[in-house]
């Protein structure tokens, strides 16, 4: 009797769907890892290169402390925790979504998006997870190292609950970054020719290195609620330092779920602008 791959059997309940999508994601991850391991030397070089650039970013910001004692209320050790958190959130976002975001413009312009849309899975899911850049895991590990070093130098001993809160907030930061990035890349459905639209994310998210509490007035509010860069650095760092605010966690969870949901609405709207260009 022939076996049937359950990943492609129409699923009915939420849990079936979830299991099906997780299996699909696992298959993508295995494929990407196998592809990277085909060129091991290149992968090792890329891992070191990405960690090196993450290190440079941390060094640049902390050079300020050669000249001043604090930035706002942030000492140099606290800033290490912030930079570690920023490195973790941004590089996890790059690891999971970089290649797909940069490829979406090409899919739309060449009409290859047809091949995605005709698959029996959610289109947004498939365009978002088609590639994983494992080389960006090196700076993620580096970020954890920097944050841990900062915490150790401060003499803090965060409890299990603090670490769990920190990881959840980092996860929310990744979800918010994904939603912002994906929504901005969708602009290509209207403009057509913006091949570099995915590059818009990098300079924007670089502003997350600035602690939001040193900002004033409307800029601070914008960084928290409009373009929520606070969740890509400051908010997780404050949670790990034990100075987080109670509303951060529920707001982060609601905002990240809401932002991903809104990006899905925008995706569906953008698809109405899509006219296949393939033969």
């Amino acid at each position: 009797m022939a076996t049937v791959d359950t990943a492609f059997v129409p699923a009915t309940t939420f849990w079936h769907q979830l299991r099906r999508y997780l299996r699909l994601y696992g298959a993508v991850a295995r494929y990407c890892l196998a592809r990277d391991l085909e060129y091991r030397t290149n992968m090792v070089f890329n891992l070191f290169r990405e960690a090196f650039y993450a290190g440079l970013q941390v060094m640049f910001v902390n050079l300020i402390y050669l000249n001043v004692k604090s930035v706002g209320d942030w000492s140099s050790d606290q800033m290490l925790v912030l930079m570690g958190s920023y490195t973790i959130v941004t590089n996890l976002t790059y690891c999971l979504f970089w290649e797909t975001m940069t490829g979406l413009s090409g899919l739309v312009n060449t009409g290859e998006l047809d091949l995605v849309l005709t698959k029996p899975v959610n289109g947004q899911f498939l365009v978002s997870v088609r590639r994983i850049a494992f080389m960006n895991l090196a700076p993620v590990a580096f970020g954890f190292g920097i944050a841990s070093y900062g915490i150790t130098r401060l003499g803090l001993q965060p409890g299990l609950l603090d670490i769990l809160s920190y990881l959840i907030l980092c996860g929310c930061g990744v979800a918010l970054c994904y939603a912002m990035w994906f929504s901005s890349v969708l602009l290509v459905f209207w403009t057509g020719r913006m091949q570099n639209i995915a590059a818009v994310f990098e300079p924007v998210v670089s502003m997350a290195r600035v602690p939001t509490d040193v900002l004033r007035g409307p800029i601070r509010l914008a960084f928290t609620f409009v373009v929520p860069l606070a969740f890509a650095g400051t908010v997780p760092a404050r949670a790990l330092l034990g100075v987080g605010e109670a509303w951060h966690m529920p707001f982060a969870i609601v905002a990240s779920v809401g932002a991903v949901f809104a990006s899905n609405k925008l995706w569906k709207r953008a698809l109405r602008e899509y006219s296949s260009a393939s033969s």
Partner: protein, 289 residues
């Protein structure tokens, strides 16, 4: 009333340039116009690249503003001086930082650089026209952005009070800063004659540039060993030198030394570019059409 026939083919409007006594000027003018038209098609792409010039230094400025206490002077800059420095860096970097290396490396890798080499015009002129055209597109985004920045930081700003000699030196340093960067980056682009994957090299060079041009921090705020290395590199003459002229701290002798050193980097960069290009062409085996 007459109506135009529907099958009429739109013909490009020829723009006549006056004949010039300078050889190559007319060709350059035409190429510049064509490059402008091309760049204007991609003005939204220009907006994205402009964010790379605008936001990283703006982030550093916001960090500095969080660090200053009333009356503080850091690395010779009071808070107003620091604001002016970063706004100057944003404006000058946007206008004076060319990127010919990516285009050169791509064409060499694809095998189409032969088409450029065989054209009856200056290769430098070809790349210069393309780069200057893109800078005009960047101006579209720079001007409104600077207007907003000036409104936000109005209280920190003042017209530089420097002598006419400083203003003259500043005006001279602008094109020379551009050419310093331009020839260095053309040389980098020609590395593609030997290396198949140049992206890693270019990204590494951008990191060096960020440090030594004073893009992240004014060089005075850097550790001594970084400044010592920077003294032997051309990066400080891209636009950092121009920002320092307007601070008015240079004596006449320092101004003259700075301008002459910048000129030496321009000439040295041109010679280096020619040497590397000539050596590269000897081993170039174009396979593109």
């Amino acid at each position: 009333m007459t109506t135009a026939p529907t099958n009429m083919v739109a013909r490009p409007v020829a723009v006549e340039f006056p004949r010039s006594s300078f050889p190559g000027t007319r060709k350059f003018g035409r190429l510049l116009l064509a490059s402008w038209q091309d760049a204007l098609q991609y003005r939204l792409e220009g907006a994205v690249w402009f964010l790379y010039d605008l936001l990283p230094p703006m982030g550093m400025l916001l960090l500095w503003l969080g660090a200053y206490r009333p009356g503080d002077t850091v690395a010779g800059y009071d808070v107003a001086g620091m604001v002016q420095y970063y706004l100057g860096v944003i404006a000058l970097r946007t206008l004076l930082n060319p990127h010919p290396e990516w285009d050169i490396a791509e064409k060499i890798a694809k095998g189409t650089y032969g088409q450029i080499l065989l054209r009856p015009m200056s290769i430098v002129g070809y790349h210069l026209a393309g780069e200057v055209a893109w800078k005009v597109v960047r101006l579209l985004w720079l001007l409104p952005s600077m207007a907003i920045c000036i409104a936000i930081f109005w209280d920190y700003l003042q017209t530089p009070v420097v002598s006419p000699l400083h203003w003259t030196a500043f005006a001279v340093s602008i094109p020379m800063g551009y050419l310093t960067a331009f020839f260095l980056k053309m040389t980098m682009g020609y590395v593609a004659f030997w290396a198949t994957n140049t992206e890693g090299i270019f990204v590494f060079m951008i990191s060096l540039e960020m440090v030594f041009t004073g893009n992240f921090l004014p060089l005075q705020a850097m550790p001594d060993w970084v400044r010592m290395i920077g003294d032997w590199l051309p990066y400080r003459y891209f636009y950092f030198f121009s920002t320092q002229i307007l601070r008015g701290t240079f004596t006449e002798a320092e101004l003259a030394t700075g301008i002459l050193t910048q000129l030496a980097w321009v000439i040295g960069g041109y010679i280096m570019m020619r040497i590397v290009r000539t050596a590269g062409i000897r081993r170039y085996a174009a396979f593109g059409g």
